[in-house]
């Protein structure tokens, strides 16, 4: 049960992020909540559980959106690793730092998506950088501190009894 609920919540998060922002922004930009969760996992969760969570989130997103299977699994795995390495060197509690780091990760992810689409399908998506990817990265960066708080609250609720990770905040 301890692992079932996070899995279900991860699936719900992915479903939420591909349906609700689509209605709000009419499909023009997406809000990648799952990326923030991956960064949160890199900062505050253990290596094994964080990596598994990132892998599963990426896989869910691949199943539901991406046409290249494994692309988001790869990107989320890389983002988790970067976040985990970053958290070893920096005291990542500052809201501004979280926002800037999330913005940078989102931007880097966009660049890699453009690169992979170009490499695999020969599709040029560079023109989307200004109109789609930068607004998306800004939005997700601004929302990230609040989302960190929400994820932390959910983590505490799920780990009632496992208060170790909760005390870090």
């Amino acid at each position: 049960m301890r692992y079932f609920f996070p899995l279900l919540l991860a699936l719900l998060l992915v479903v939420f992020q591909i349906t609700v922002p689509d209605i709000i922004f009419s499909g023009k930009i997406g809000v990648e909540l799952s990326l923030v969760l991956v960064i949160y996992a890199g900062f505050y969760l253990g290596f094994i559980e964080g990596a598994i969570l990132s892998f599963i989130l990426g896989f869910f997103l691949d199943c539901l959106t991406g046409t290249i299977s494994g692309l988001f699994t790869l990107l989320y795995g890389m983002t988790f690793i970067v976040a985990a390495l970053f958290s070893l060197r920096v005291y990542a509690e500052e809201f501004s730092l979280i926002a800037v780091f999330t913005f940078a990760c989102s931007l880097m992810e966009s660049v890699l998506i453009i690169f992979f689409y170009r490499l695999i399908y020969g599709v040029n998506m560079v023109h989307d950088i200004v109109s789609v990817f930068i607004p998306q990265a800004l939005l997700v960066g601004i929302l990230s501190p609040a989302l960190f708080k929400i994820f932390h609250t959910i983590e505490v609720l799920l780990n009632a009894g496992y208060t170790k990770s909760a005390e870090r905040f």
Binding site: Q17, F55, C63, T65, L74, G77, F80, I81, V132
Partner: protein, 275 residues
């Protein structure tokens, strides 16, 4: 673990990256194959997506019908409530009427078409980053296979890119990864219709000498083996020619309103279906 934290990350990183790269390369080599787990996730999520969409619609209705009325006089409120009930009933009847109309159109289209078809309802719309897809409520159990064309009463919607037992994913023609061999109906100029996200589509590789005008219909050419010839794709809404370019830039607006799509029809044709 006995290894220092830094090495744990390196080992874990290597495993994750290798595993993901294997998935990517397998997907690129075999795009038509969706694994068991992908099918399972798609089948699990389709009803969830339907529930989320229905809840949002209900919330919107609740807002417009009830919360908005708070603060009015009691009598006015009662009258409005009665009015809402009646309006709800009318809307219900209208919905039934419209659905019947849509189904009749699909039935008429079905009778005109020589291929076997399957009518499906749209369960959800996914427009996330680079991807533009919809999920429909028919899958391999109903004979749906990867690559089959999907149309609406107006025009081409897209093609099946993934199937599960009772749901399938459709790549819309506005997805940047969608390429369809097309011709301009008026002058038969041939090109490739590529998706351009929220901006619609672009008709590429049409020579500058070809006379293409705003309002010209763009139809499928029948080449490429997916879409039968003569299906409406969209209408030309912009043409620009630059001296330096060999080809002209043609903007095409799809004839389908993807935001209002409720029922679609899948042509049960394709390499795998013909076997």
């Amino acid at each position: 673990m006995l290894l220092p934290k830094k090495y744990q990350i390196i080992i874990l990183a290597s495993i994750l990256v290798i595993l993901s790269l294997v998935m990517v390369s397998y997907s690129v080599k075999h795009p038509e194959k969706s694994g068991f787990f992908r099918r399972l996730v798609l089948a699990t999520v389709a009803p969830l997506e339907g529930m989320v969409n229905a809840s949002i619609k209900e919330l919107g209705d609740l807002w417009t019908r009830y919360i908005f009325l708070i603060g009015l006089e009691e009598e006015n409120r009662n009258l409005k409530k009665r009015n809402d009930q009646l309006r709800g009933r009318v809307i219900q009847y209208q919905e039934g009427y419209l659905e019947a109309q849509r189904l009749r159109k699909i039935l008429e289209l079905k009778e005109q078409i020589k291929y076997r078809t399957a009518v499906a309802n749209v369960l959800g719309r996914n427009q996330f980053l680079s991807s533009r897809t919809i999920v429909i409520n028919k899958g391999t159990s109903q004979g749906i296979l990867v690559g089959m064309p999907v149309v609406s009463t107006q025009a081409v919607v897209g093609r099946i890119i993934e199937t599960s037992w009772n749901v399938s994913k459709v790549l819309l023609i506005i997805d940047e990864n969608s390429n369809i061999d097309a011709i301009v109906q008026g002058n038969r100029a041939q090109g490739i219709l590529q998706g351009n996200g929220p901006r619609g589509c672009n008709l590429k590789y049409v020579h500058k000498m070809d006379d293409v005008r705003k309002g010209d219909a763009v139809i499928s050419s029948g080449m490429g083996g997916i879409f039968p010839k003569g299906l409406l794709l969209g209408v030309v809404t912009g043409v620009s020619k630059k001296d330096a370019d060999l080809f002209q830039k043609i903007e095409v607006t799809p004839s389908v309103d993807f935001a209002k799509l409720e029922e679609v029809m899948v042509f049960l044709i394709g390499k795998e279906a013909d076997r």
